[in-house]
């Protein structure tokens, strides 16, 4: 059905210039005829009619040229060119045309314009008819306008019989038969009512059913085309068949048709405007991306360029339920946001979450994907790495938290278990002593004293073990109290310059305490330090701990191993550890632990 579709592409390539020259030539020729014989035009005798003819034709030619060249949709463009041509041919059954061939052509083709417009509108913007129904409607339209209203009546049309004495000869005249001529025109008229109505229904349905993007692109074209066809339908009902100038079309209706075709041309240009805007935006984007990687992320840049500050760029990572942002953090999709996938080679690279309607034109999403290609890949990889790091950090802090919970449990078990039992023993010993004091046997009393001494040693030792596992005073009274307790137990003097007295999150207090205990205890001893100094203070949202061991002469692999342990513990809380062992035998361990958890 589609004329152009049958022509091999190879032949089509040099064709455009010839084709468009022919269209323009045809148009100008038609205009010349119309101007020369204004009385025989559909628009009547006026400059306005000529202007309308010219403008409507130009609009269609412009639309066709733009589609062919600007949008690289030659199939669609040619259809609009043909529509312009058909719109010109309407004038060729003007008696004043003078030449028989041209007049005959006019007799055959005078009604074809609505069919071509129908075809062009339904096939817009790809130049293809999408469904069987569309192909049927367009097929019927061509049969009706070219055959039933064109070629066949021409066979029976003798100009003189229809009192057109100025008319050039009808070269196709076979039999002068007015009755057949009228019957065919009547039949053609009914067919016209049928397919135009079908077209209007189809066009309306398409406008209503289309999803946002294609509706915005195609609706203006469909509506302008429908307006034109509706006017054709109305005109056909009120017109008498015959040559031009016999009042075949009411001048008002004709002007309206011209206007509708003009609007149709503009509707095509509207899509060009949409496209143009996108191109300009994307050009800006490409320039910006080329300059430097976006600091606020692609999200902020796209939001700014597309004019939606709430725009979000989301990445779907493998093996993950939730979308993540550029920082690899899981994100919730807010209600009421539209999602546009940015795809490449069928794979979704990212999702744009934005206000509905922002990216209705699928071309825009394509352009965004193309323009941001590298930056998107980059950011996606970055997000993936950050998300992994987050996972690792979370699992590391879970491990450390589990270790700490285990320490607390152990300490509690010792307190309520073994320590309790030894105290029970103390009590028993106390009761025994109270009983035997009266007998006052000094050997027994000495034995009891001895037992008590050993028992006290065991209790003391166990208490220190429990304290080393987890000092109760740390959870009840905080870091400052626990460090005080540490100083009373230490083998070297520990001075404190400043110690955060306010309570911090339990995990932070524990990490800080064990860091201080480790550095002032085993590490200082191993390194041969003679004194230590502790400083722990809040700096912004972090706890900054500095522990210095003076006189630390020794450095060995065991110490290195202990430092790695410290680093793990602090790192698990998202903190950082810095170790410095200088020439003056000063070992400085500085840790920064974020407290906002």
């Amino acid at each position: 059905m589609t004329l152009v579709a049958f022509v091999p592409r190879r032949l089509l390539r040099p064709l455009p210039a010839v084709f468009w020259a022919a269209v323009v030539g045809f148009g100008l020729l038609s205009l010349a005829i119309a101007v020369q014989f204004p009385g025989a035009t559909n628009g009547g005798r006026s400059v306005e009619a000529a202007a309308a003819k010219l403008l409507a034709g130009s609009a269609l030619i412009g639309a066709g040229l733009y589609l062919s060249v600007g949008m690289r949709r030659p199939a669609s463009g040619v259809l609009f060119g043909l529509a312009a041509l058909a719109w010109s041919v309407e004038e060729w059954n003007n008696p004043g045309i003078g030449v028989g061939v041209a007049f005959t052509l006019g007799l055959v083709g005078h009604a074809v314009a609505p069919a071509v417009v129908t075809h062009a509108v339904l096939a817009y913007p790809f130049g293809r008819l999408a469904s069987q129904l569309e192909r049927l409607i367009v097929g019927v339209a061509y049969v009706d306008t070219l055959l039933v209203l064109g070629l066949l009546p021409a066979l029976f049309f003798a100009p003189a019989t229809h009192s057109c004495h100025l008319c050039p000869p009808n070269l196709l005249l076979a039999v002068d038969n007015s009755q057949s001529y009228d019957s065919l025109n009547r039949l053609g008229g009914w067919l016209l009512v049928g397919w135009t109505a079908a077209f209007l229904a189809l066009a309306l349905r398409r406008v209503l059913r289309a999803s946002g993007p294609s509706r915005r692109l195609a609706a203006p074209v469909l509506l302008a085309g429908s307006a034109y066809i509706l006017l054709v339908l109305v005109a056909a009902r009120g017109a008498a068949p015959g040559v031009n100038g016999a009042g075949s079309v009411a001048p008002g209706l004709w002007f309206a048709q011209a206007a509708a075709l003009g609007v149709l041309g503009l509707a095509v240009a509207w899509s060009r405007l949409l496209r143009h805007r996108t191109r300009a935006l994307m050009a800006g984007l490409v320039v910006e991306l080329g300059r430097s990687p976006p600091s606020g992320g692609l999200q902020e840049m796209l939001g700014r360029i597309l004019g939606d500050p709430a725009l979000r760029v989301a990445y779907a990572l493998e093996g993950r339920q939730k979308l993540v942002d550029a920082n690899g953090k899981a994100m919730e999709v807010a209600e009421g946001l539209a999602q546009t996938p940015l795809t490449r080679e069928g794979r979704t690279i990212a999702l744009l979450l934005h206000r509905p309607g922002l990216l209705d034109d699928p071309a825009v999403a394509e352009e965004v994907a193309a323009a941001t290609r590298l930056a998107l890949d980059n950011e996606r990889l970055h997000a993936e790495v950050l998300a992994r790091i987050d996972d690792l950090r979370a699992s590391r802090s879970r491990i450390v938290a589990a270790g700490e919970a285990e320490r607390r449990r152990l300490e509690r078990d010792l307190h309520d278990g073994a320590q309790q039992r030894l105290l029970g023993l103390s009590l028993a010993l106390g009761l025994t002593r109270a009983q035997v004091t009266e007998i006052a046997d000094s050997t027994i009393l000495t034995l009891i004293d001895d037992a008590e001494e050993r028992l006290r040693g065991a209790i003391d030792e166990l208490r220190e073990v429990a304290h080393g596992i987890y000092p109760a005073v740390l959870s009840s009274d905080g870091l400052g109290a626990a460090v005080d307790s540490l100083r009373e137990r230490a083998s070297i003097p520990i001075s404190v310059t400043s110690l955060a007295e306010d309570r911090l999150p339990g995990s932070v207090e524990s990490a800080a305490y064990f860091l201080i205990a480790e550095v002032t205890g085993p590490i200082a001893v191993r390194a041969g330090a003679t004194s230590a100094a502790v400083d722990a203070r809040r700096v912004g949202d972090s706890l900054v701990i500095t522990v210095r061991a003076d006189g630390a002469q020794r450095a060995d692999t065991e110490l290195d191993g202990r430092f790695v342990d410290l680093e793990d513990r602090i790192g698990a809380l998202g903190g950082q550890l810095h170790i410095e062992h200088d020439e003056a035998a000063r070992l400085t361990v500085r840790a920064e632990i974020p407290c906002a958890s």
Partner: protein
């Protein structure tokens, strides 16, 4: 002397009660948590309440909190905290606001009823009592520089006894020294450590403890 005992460990609660009864004290109440302790103190008005630190419901320091509140609300009810924790911090929390009639002993002291009864008596008489093990640890704590190490052996003994809450008289009895000699020693110690010489017994205990803990 009338005492109440609060400890969530049944063995220790009952054992201590028996020990004290054998020693001739009147145990007027035995409870297993801080709430009940406050109630029984209100109703029985004992001479001394013996309190464990870690008790239900949170098993952290509710015994200590209850002890502080008893000392604040009942000026004539003494409190002896019996604890497994060798933490001067806990002792200081107890003594800080109301040092009179307060004491902190490690639980293993129950092996010598004489020590326990002596502590209870001192508390009932208005003194404050601190476990010698805690004091010894404070005195021995490494310092840099260390004025405590500059003291003579005898002065360190006297210093420890002051920190334990002993009165001048008790010190002279324990060390078999004349009251005059003890006073001289105390004067020496306080001036060497740069502490104000004060007649107030409780203020002197607190000052010495603060010095030992933080210097």
């Amino acid at each position: 002397m009338r005492v109440v005992i609060a400890d969530d460990a049944m063995l220790l609660r009952e054992g201590t009660a028996r020990l004290l009864e054998v020693a001739g004290l009147d145990v007027v109440g035995k409870v297993d948590d801080a709430q009940k302790l406050l109630r029984i103190v209100a109703s029985e008005h004992p001479d001394v309440a013996i309190v464990d630190i870690r008790m239900p419901p949170t098993f952290t320091d509710e015994g200590l909190v209850a002890a502080e509140s008893i000392r604040a609300s009942y000026p004539d009810v003494g409190v002896l905290v019996l604890s497994q924790y060798l933490e001067s911090r806990y002792a200081m929390r107890l003594l800080r606001e109301n040092p009179e009639r307060s004491g902190y002993l490690l639980k293993e002291r129950v092996s010598d009823v004489a020590v326990l009864v002596d502590a209870l008596k001192r508390i009932a008489e208005g003194e404050c009592v601190l476990d010698p093990t805690i004091v010894a640890k404070l005195v021995r704590r490494p310092r840099d520089p260390d004025p405590v190490a500059e003291l003579t052996e005898r002065e360190r003994e006297v210093l420890a006894l002051i920190a334990e809450g002993r009165s001048n008289r008790a010190i002279s009895d324990l060390l078999v020294l004349s009251p005059k000699t003890v006073e001289t020693h105390i004067g020496q110690i306080l001036s060497k450590l740069g502490l104000d010489e004060t007649a107030d017994y409780h203020r002197r205990v607190l000052a010495v403890l603060a010095y030992l803990r933080h210097t």
